[in-house]
């Protein structure tokens, strides 16, 4: 339970860390959009060859991975930390990949095994590998954001970005506050859960054996005390805020005012360049992908 890398800030004074949180959030959103734009194999095979797909998607992934690698190196976050962030989704990815291999239903010209609804083919395997890489990248990008941005900066950034919604009476400040409190309390909750877990273990509680239902039931002696202490903590926090005259967003000023700087411009340009190159490979601008694929075919 202690290995939750998501939302764990890695302190450093790098350029990436000092960038404006708002810009980093926008970049992360665009990054996610980019990954969604990477086509699955079905969409592609209607008009292109299998090799074209591998080249186009492969090149896109390489561009994105290079981008992640460069940001990681610049930010001075240990690359292992970024890699570790995929730990939480690894089962999901393996599960998805296996399903995709077994039940691939799109066009396929290279079938290895077929029986009933099970259909294993080269296209299916390639598709599932692409999907796995895509999911891993989908987790690594945003975790790089949380590794280089403190939770406070992050919520301030979100609050600032959501400001236009105030016009339609969305309580933006309150939402941001709820988020920052939730983020702030995650480490406390983990610590508390650890303590309660130890206490129940000392009474011979068994959390690691039996089937999934048994295990879920075994979690009850941790969850109930955890829930109760969360309520208690929420109460105490409310009193503490009240006694310091907290009254919501009205008239509240900031100690740290966010300002865009030259480094934000460079960061954006850098991302935009990567974004464009990746799109180029995806949509075959100037026939780059086709040319690359043709080159690959001629070499083979």
């Amino acid at each position: 339970m202690r290995d939750v890398s998501f939302g764990q800030y890695y302190p450093s004074k790098s350029v990436v860390h000092r960038m404006d949180a708002r810009i980093k959030i926008i970049i992360s959103l665009c990054y996610i959009v980019l990954l969604i734009l990477v086509p699955t194999i079905d969409r592609f095979l209607d008009k292109g060859r299998l090799g074209d797909y591998i080249v186009s998607v492969g090149a896109t992934f390489i561009v994105i991975i290079l981008f992640l690698l460069m940001v990681t190196l610049i930010s001075k976050v240990p690359p292992l930390k970024v890699l570790k962030s995929v730990k939480s989704v690894i089962f999901l990815v393996i599960f998805t990949a296996v399903i995709l291999v077994l039940f691939y239903g799109g066009t396929s010209n290279h079938i290895y095994f077929h029986k009933g609804i099970i259909n294993i083919s080269l296209e299916g395997i390639i598709n599932s590998i692409a999907m796995a890489i895509r999911l891993f990248l989908l987790v690594m990008g945003p975790s790089l954001l949380t590794l280089t941005t403190t939770p406070v900066e992050l919520t301030d950034g979100i609050e600032s970005l959501l400001k236009p919604l105030k016009l339609i009476k969305v309580p933006v400040h309150e939402i941001a506050l709820i988020m920052s409190i939730a983020l702030r309390l995650i480490p406390n909750l983990i610590e508390e859960a650890d303590k309660i877990r130890s206490a129940q273990k000392a009474r011979c509680a068994d959390f690691d054996s039996g089937n999934i239902f048994k295990r879920a039931k075994a979690m009850l002696p941790i969850l109930v005390p955890l829930l109760i202490s969360s309520f208690r903590r929420a109460d105490e926090l409310a009193y503490a805020m009240d006694s310091r005259c907290y009254r919501g967003a009205k008239g509240r000023t900031r100690m740290k005012i966010m300002r865009l700087g030259i480094r934000d411009l460079f960061g954006m340009l850098f991302f935009a360049a990567m974004f464009f190159v990746a799109l180029m490979f995806i949509y075959d601008f100037f026939g780059v992908s086709t040319a690359l694929a043709n080159l690959a075919y001629s070499l083979i």
């Binding site: 303590k195 309660i196 130890s198 206490a199 129940q200 273990k201 000392a202 009474r203 011979c204 509680a205 068994d206 009850l220 002696p221 941790i222 109930v224 005390p225 109760i228 202490s229």
Partner: protein, 282 residues
Amino acid sequence: MSIVVKDLTYIYSPGTPFERKALDGVTFTIEDGDFFGIVGRTGSGKSTLISHFNGLIKLMNGSLIVEGIDLSEKYDYKKLRSQVGMVFQYPEYQLFDETVEKDVGFGPKNLGLSAAEIAERAKNAIELVGLDYREIKDRSPFELSGGQMRRVALAGVLAMKPKTLILDEPTAGLDPKGKEEIMQLLLRIKRECPTIVMISHNMDEVSSYCNRIAVLGGGKLKGVFSPKELFDKEELVAEAGLSLPMPAYISKLLVERGLNVSASSEDELVQSILSIWGAKNA
């Protein structure tokens, strides 16, 4: 011998920038029947040390034998944890079940005992901590007072019938009367569970109840003393972040003013002052 600690070393997050030595070559023995105190500043390694005693932390370096079980080899967790009861700080925060009886029976149930045996043990444990079994057994643990909740949590550990009981600041957060009650309770428990190990920051408690006291500092063992020996080492007491217990402090002040007084308990202090008083008036 209840617990034999030899050359125990523990490092948190080894091989990372966050590496920290929590315990460094700690060696000592807790005998059967000891009321053993462990004192030291926050972060001196006390909690890490006691978490070793029932296998919540895996042995990293050194050897540890608890109730005859060698923790450096493969051993039976359940057996160890039923022999060594562990009461954490603020144990009332671990209560979870619908009724007091069920909560106290959680440990025995995990040991795989029969329903009759579980009920019997729960009853005995609840009575041992001085609560009215009939009145309290079907109530929810969450509607009890703070002091009662702590007793119920304590009963939950005692229901495992441990031979050694380990407590991390059992009186933290209680008022003076509640503290006294818990300490008296521990004396009563000691008749059934002969060895008690207790972390404490309260020097009065340690000096009046413990027969031996281990002082930890920066993960190292500074020594194991009787209360009297410890209070003669003023520097060590200060280094452990403690103040002298009241009788020892008063007698120290009296000695500084030229009186020949030596006392570690209230009774001794009163006696020695009275005898000086008597000699003066005779």
